[in-house]
């Protein structure tokens, strides 16, 4: 039993923190809000050079063969600076989809370039309806010749306007779970991008309109009608990635609040000496530390294939959603007026955490799943063995 990071993991955290502190300053983040692409490709490639992109990609495909814990460590650092970029879209969502599809040709084709950063990818699931299973997929991939034709609209595609290739979930059968994955180059004729403006201006998403988009046969990733399991894997890892980023947002917000409460004076004394502020900060600390435990337990459980991995993911997402909301929100309250200004960085973390809250399952969705896992007996071994 060891809940602490290993030496390697701590070195990884240090590496990520140094890079992001230097390259992903508040000024950079703010500049990227206005940037249509929304991220710095050079920085992204540098992450590839530093092996940050390929952490969870198997060694035979050019990655480090590590896992979700390592990705979470880097993502927590990204949350701390509200990093804008297609990291999650590519090396968490798309890479997981490809790996989980079991399609070795696709792995060989996409994973190595994802690991270097030469290739950016995204993942397109949502349409009109909100949900995280195949039941939300209305878009049909109609067989046509050797290939398929896709029509319809995908929404909230992360960094979809710049991704080289988008992994699209489309319906290919009659059952509600009969979905398949397709790798669609963004430049494919018939595919148009409608950029969205999100509350978190650094969270670039878009709608992708498919107007009878023709795909070759090898666009299919994995088996026909076999996409549901891959989608499920994407949701699990997407949720934990969101937890890690929200955790970073929370930790940074807590640190800024404590620092401010020590120096800001009202009524002749530091505001941190008032119980109203002190106790708020204590609750923020409690929430943040518990969010840490939940996030890394879930990340470890996924990596270890633990029997309670799904449970742990739903525990983490529903818990961290609320913890990060509380911490990032209360940070504004602790700061008062200045916390509400554009110039101050707090809102970057507040908005990022809020952006991630509904994604890959909101609190209610995951609470329901927690209960389902418990009723199915898929819980941790020892403690609940009755």
């Amino acid at each position: 039993m060891d809940f602490e990071f290993s030496q390697d993991q701590m070195a990884l955290r240090e590496l990520a923190r140094e890079l992001l502190t230097e390259r992903c300053t508040s000024a950079h983040v703010r500049a990227m809000m206005e940037d249509p692409a929304g991220y710095d490709p050079a920085l992204y490639r540098q992450m590839g050079d530093m092996s940050l992109l390929g952490l969870a990609i198997p060694e035979q495909y050019g990655g480090s063969g590590l896992g979700m814990v390592e990705q979470a460590i880097v993502l927590e650092e990204m949350g701390r600076v509200a990093y804008p970029g297609p990291f999650v879209a590519g090396v968490v969502l798309a890479a997981t989809g490809i790996q989980a599809s079991g399609d070795e040709a696709a792995m060989a084709r996409y994973l190595p370039c994802l690991a270097t950063g030469e290739l950016t990818m995204s993942f397109a699931l949502l349409e009109d309806a909100i949900g995280w299973g195949p039941e939300v997929v209305a878009m049909r991939a109609v067989p046509a010749g050797d290939g398929f034709v896709l029509s319809g609209t995908k929404r909230f595609v992360p960094f979809g306007a710049t991704a080289d290739v988008i992994l699209v979930v489309a319906s290919t059968g009659d059952g509600p779970g009969d979905v398949s994955l397709f790798a669609v180059p963004r430049e494919t004729p018939g595919l148009t991008v409608e950029p969205y403006g999100m509350f978190d201006l650094n969270a670039k998403t878009c709608a992708l309109h498919f107007d009878a988009v023709r795909l070759p046969g090898d666009a299919l990733i994995g088996d026909l009608n076999g996409g549901a399991a891959a989608l499920d894997a994407v949701v699990q890892r997407g949720a934990v990635a969101a937890c890690a980023e929200m955790l970073g947002c929370a930790r940074k917000s807590l640190e800024m609040s404590v620092a401010y409460a020590k120096v800001r004076k009202q009524f002749g004394q530091p505001i941190g000496s008032f119980q109203a502020i002190k106790h708020k900060c204590a609750e923020m600390l409690e929430a943040t530390e518990n969010a840490h435990s939940a996030t890394y337990y879930a990340a470890w459980a996924l990596d270890a294939g633990a029997p309670d991995a799904r449970l742990a993911v739903s525990v983490a997402k529903s818990f961290v959603n609320e913890a990060a909301r509380k911490v990032c929100g209360e940070a504004i309250q602790v700061h008062g007026g200045i916390g509400f200004t554009w110039e101050y960085d707090l809102h970057l973390y507040f908005k990022r955490a809020k952006h991630l809250e509904p994604l890959w399952g909101d609190t209610a969705w995951h609470r329901e799943r927690v209960l389902e896992e418990v009723l199915a007996g898929r819980v941790a071994g020892a403690a609940a063995g009755r």
């Binding site: 309806a129 039941e135 403006g197 109203a276 502020i277 509904p358």
Partner: protein, 417 residues
């Protein structure tokens, strides 16, 4: 107890509705001139400064009539009139504390919005602890010379005049030595810099004063007696008209119902999801309780009972409720609630009328975060309730220990962080 509106009230409401139907602008008011025209029309209909005495251009209207106007205007999402702070706060302050000359000079153009006012209170180091403000007003001959900085000034960029609190005796203990002064925002040395909020918009400004000269007759009340005046104006700010808030929350709620009836979540319409229904039921419940509480305050106002510090309950409840409700909105709408550009119209916040400021769900969400900070943070409101309403002992505070004993009582509820 009788919670029906009187027949008189109902007739008045009908008149307001009829007027709105006939006069509500169909287009967004883009320019200041259009806004002034709308303001003047509302004023001439008798719906602005209604509570002011007749001799100063008001209508001496009953509180219930004022509330009905607020409620009905919010109900149809009418464009705001101008000079809200001036008419709600500066005007009453002048009526109570101003000289006859000041009243004659300033009140009428305030009401007609020919002159727009702002309130120059907060400073970077004087937020909740307003009494620690540092902006100096030095009496030199027959003029004050003002130097300093104000912040969180609402509408400063278009204001003609400002009601300022400034330190006129730097040697007096903190709550003494402050005066209340009327400042020409066009005077040399006044510089307004817009302040951008986390919402991305800039409703507030910073204002810098460098050797700004203000004639001594623009002092309101006695020299160094500004703190008491400020307490009065703060209580105007905290009293106020909550029925219009109820209308605004209801408008948001009804739009949310519409969207929830269309939006599909987890295989069914959001409105059919029992968990979503609980949230909607909770929201409506809390809005109704705000409405009941507002009626209770109004019914006391109708009897001539002015709300005291207990009106902090309304501010505290409303602002915390709004924060909670905006969170619930975003929970129900998922990523659609966070779209500020590109939202499909079926899921966007639109108030059903073309002439308001539609904004976005996310904008309302962002703004709810300010509600528990400005005009006395929730912490300050709780101090007021604890100390002034419940009579709990004041906390030990550094500034109280060094201050002159006489100031202790006045520091009152402004305690807290």
């Amino acid at each position: 107890m009788d919670l029906y509106y009187t027949r008189e009230d109902e007739e008045f409401r009908a008149r307001v509705r009829a007027w709105l139907e006939a006069n509500l602008p169909r287009e967004k008011l883009e320019t200041l001139e259009q806004q002034r025209a709308w303001h003047r029309a509302v004023y001439e209909a008798g719906f602005i400064g209604m509570g002011w005495p007749v001799e100063y251009g008001g209508r001496a209207a009953r509180p219930m009539e004022q509330a009905i106007v607020g409620e009905e205007f919010a109900r149809v999402n009418a464009p705001p009139t101008l000079n809200g702070l001036g008419i709600a706060i500066v005007g009453p302050t002048l009526i109570h504390h101003g000289t006859e000359a000041q009243k004659r000079r300033f009140l009428k153009p305030m009401l007609t919005a020919d002159e727009i006012w702002c309130q120059l209170y907060s400073e970077p180091n004087a937020g909740s602890d307003l009494a620690s403000l540092r902006t100096r007003a030095e009496l030199v001959g027959d003029h004050f010379v003002i130097n300093g900085q104000k912040v969180w000034t609402s509408g400063a960029h278009r204001a003609d005049w400002g009601l300022m609190l400034a330190r006129t005796d730097p040697d007096a203990p903190k709550h003494l030595g402050i005066s209340c002064i009327l400042v020409d925002m066009h005077a040399p040395g006044v510089e307004v810099r817009p302040l951008r909020q986390l919402s991305g918009s800039n409703e507030f400004s910073e204002v810098f004063f460098t050797d700004v000269r203000v004639p001594a007759e623009h002092l309101v009340g006695e020299l160094n007696a500004g703190w008491q005046i400020a307490q009065t104006t703060l209580s105007y700010e905290r009293g106020g008209n909550t029925l219009s808030r109820v209308s605004r929350q209801l408008a948001l709620f009804h739009r949310l119902l519409q969207v929830a009836s269309r939006l599909e979540r987890d295989g069914r319409r959001a409105i059919d999801d029992p968990v979503v229904r609980q949230k909607l039921g909770q929201m409506y419940t809390e809005i109704e309780v705000l409405r009941y509480g507002s009626l209770r305050i109004l019914s006391r106002l109708e009897k001539g009972i002015r709300p005291g510090p207990e009106s902090s309950i309304t501010k505290l409840y409303y602002s915390e409720m709004d924060k909670r409700h905006q969170e619930l909105v975003l929970e129900i709408l998922g990523p659609y609630g966070q779209l500020i550009e590109g939202a499909p119209s079926a899921y966007a916040l639109q108030d059903g009328v073309a002439y308001g400021e539609p904004g976005s769900w996310a904008y309302g969400f962002a703004y709810s975060r300010a509600g528990t900070i400005y005009a006395g943070s929730s912490e300050i409101q709780k101090n007021i309730l604890g100390e002034r309403v419940l009579g709990l002992p004041k906390e030990l505070r550094a500034d109280r220990m060094q201050a002159h004993p006489a100031t202790q009582a006045q520091a009152g509820g402004e305690g807290g962080a």
